[in-house]
Symmetry: C2
Amino acid sequence: MTRDRADTLIVNGLVITCDSEDTVLENGWVSITGGKIGGIGTDETAETPEAVEIIDANGCIVMPGLVNSHTHLPMSLFRGLADDLPLMEWLNDHMFPAERTYINPESVFSAALLSCAEMLLSGTTTCCDGYFYEDRVAEAVHTTGMRAVLGQGIIDFPAPGVSDPEKNILHASAFVEKWMGRSDTITPSLFCHSAYTCSERTLKEAKASAGRHKLLFQIHAAETKDECGQSVADVGLTPIRYLDKIGILDEKTLIVHGVWMDEEEMTILSASGAKVAHCPESNMKLGSGIAPVWEQLGAGITVGIGTDGCASNNDLDMFLEMDTASKLQKVTKLDPSVMDAGTVVKMATIEGAKAVGLDHMTGSLQPGKEADIIIIDTKQLHLVPMYNPFSHIVYSAKGADVRDVFVSGKRLVKDRSLLTMDAEQIVSKFYNNGPVAIK
Amino acid sequence: MTRDRADTLIVNGLVITCDSEDTVLENGWVSITGGKIGGIGTDETAETPEAVEIIDANGCIVMPGLVNSHTHLPMSLFRGLADDLPLMEWLNDHMFPAERTYINPESVFSAALLSCAEMLLSGTTTCCDGYFYEDRVAEAVHTTGMRAVLGQGIIDFPAPGVSDPEKNILHASAFVEKWMGRSDTITPSLFCHSAYTCSERTLKEAKASAGRHKLLFQIHAAETKDECGQSVADVGLTPIRYLDKIGILDEKTLIVHGVWMDEEEMTILSASGAKVAHCPESNMKLGSGIAPVWEQLGAGITVGIGTDGCASNNDLDMFLEMDTASKLQKVTKLDPSVMDAGTVVKMATIEGAKAVGLDHMTGSLQPGKEADIIIIDTKQLHLVPMYNPFSHIVYSAKGADVRDVFVSGKRLVKDRSLLTMDAEQIVSKFYNNGPVAIK
């Protein structure tokens, strides 16, 4: 009997697969062949394959790369630019002017690189993004090797790179055409900003375009109470009911935020197959509200976790987002048993992959899937002792504990250092001669 | 004119003093002489002193060490032992049995060392603790050089090391006597667990003992809704009103948690001068409730921030606690302008120092105070660009970004490594032959 031969073999790890059986293997191995997961096993259950490269994960958790189901990559440019302000003042007096002044093809490219670097170093291998100059975002993401679902922003106002809103869908479609099948790690998508910034016609046309290509349709909805009130005043329906009525909701629709919804709306969402991207830290920081995530899960809705853009978070660390997602539901319900760590880990992996339409290729460690894998170093002061790895992933680990990161079997982070990017150069670009206090 | 001469001089930093004028100095220096802060200035405002040792803080924030106003150091032993469980099941079926089985003088010492190591590496220079075998906690803390207010736990039940509850105050007083003036960095305190586990006589005697020595009196109170209901059923008053009635509240009393209180109780607390230790992550994880912190601050109450013990958090990182403290108030009020970053940074420094009774020596960078200083490396991917350092401290930085830590001028952490402890040895002690999954 000859042993299987793999390109790479990760051994001696505590392997958390996030598969449908929640398989966890102590002293486990994961093999990578041709960028895909070849096999998974333990020394006890199967003969370990041979491999060109052996990676020792002793003292480590080996798990699927995290899926950040909602972000705006270039907004790292505005990290901490304006905090602690009322939402409309933040948007109108700071974010929109900053976008008008600073958002251009070059800054979008650089800031997207910065965000990818932060994400990869903190264990995120897939993100779902929407912004302007998305073509430049795609170019940046492509150079990093990270996996992403990317959508050119559609909004019925003049926007960076799209001065004539009449052409917003044209721009978005051109982005889709360009990036369909162009990069192994990039999946194009359509991203309408919201029902309050896009007309019914725009929403329908964009959704139809997404449908033609079987692509994900992303949209912010039911983020704030005011938005819902305004929607009822404008069209006589809450955002979710309105989107349902005009035919936007189906299994390829991703509702971003979904904070304000009642039981009936959850039933509508669940029946439609639409997914939700839950962004707890952004919802908290902007004072938007607490999403009924536990009820959404109970209604059978697929919910992923997202950081949102850096300007409303202010980081892209999915470990902290998992921690907050769990704790926020517990305190809202006054029940520590809801949003258990195991559920949250799946939301940040396989459920997130489902939410962004990539669960056929990522989100769990299963033979045949892309080898999107992270290795977490648990031999650290703040991670000992360990009784339950799920608890540690959600409540104790941080992005900085991620030692190695693979996307499609390619090692992008090794011993906490980026292999496909020059971290120092990126930092220098954004670091202006020492810290600057503008207050 | 001769220049002043200091032992150590930290230069080129963005100095955040947390003094009463909220002084922030770009390109600032801080000098240390005889363990105390000698001076603070910028190249523009004053001549920089000479020094034996020069530390370059270029690209860094220099600020007071953080004050963790409530923790149980030895509970790092139970990090993640039992999560996602109803509170009483967690306490009765897991924590209490685990304490009976595993808490002993040796484990308390080791686990306290582990917690101090985690705290120092994440920028906490002062903590306020209460537990059993507190003498062993004190010995551990003393060896590390960390500053702490420590109280031997008082509870009217048999407890680890105190089999006869009749002797609980005797034990606590003996601890106080032993540690009064014994260590430069340790201040003894009295710690009654709660009004529901201590009789009125116990509470009064313990408070009287604390009063005689002018020491801090710590007590958990108003943590859960059930506790408050039970208190009304038992003594006809809510915990805060009861403690007020029996004379426990004064400016040397620290109310830990203070989640459930109405306006009148805040007025009572404010008038008494009693302080509050706010532990948002623990309150969230245990499903206890959301403390009315913004109202407490408005009522003029001094509120510090604490992590609580590791078993209900599950880490001791004060940066994450600041982040959560801010965001939780914002989302509760649906107002992003409350709990601004500047306020939160002061809660984790000078206000925390006031809460634990050490503001005469720590919590701000001011000449004459102990040199408890941390240096945060902001030249990192997740900390650029920087527009406002307070925003970065609260919303973007993590404990792992702390480069150097000084307590009373002694460097305890250098380039992210502990100087007074063997980190590897501590980790090994708690790391049992690879990660263990008990689920």
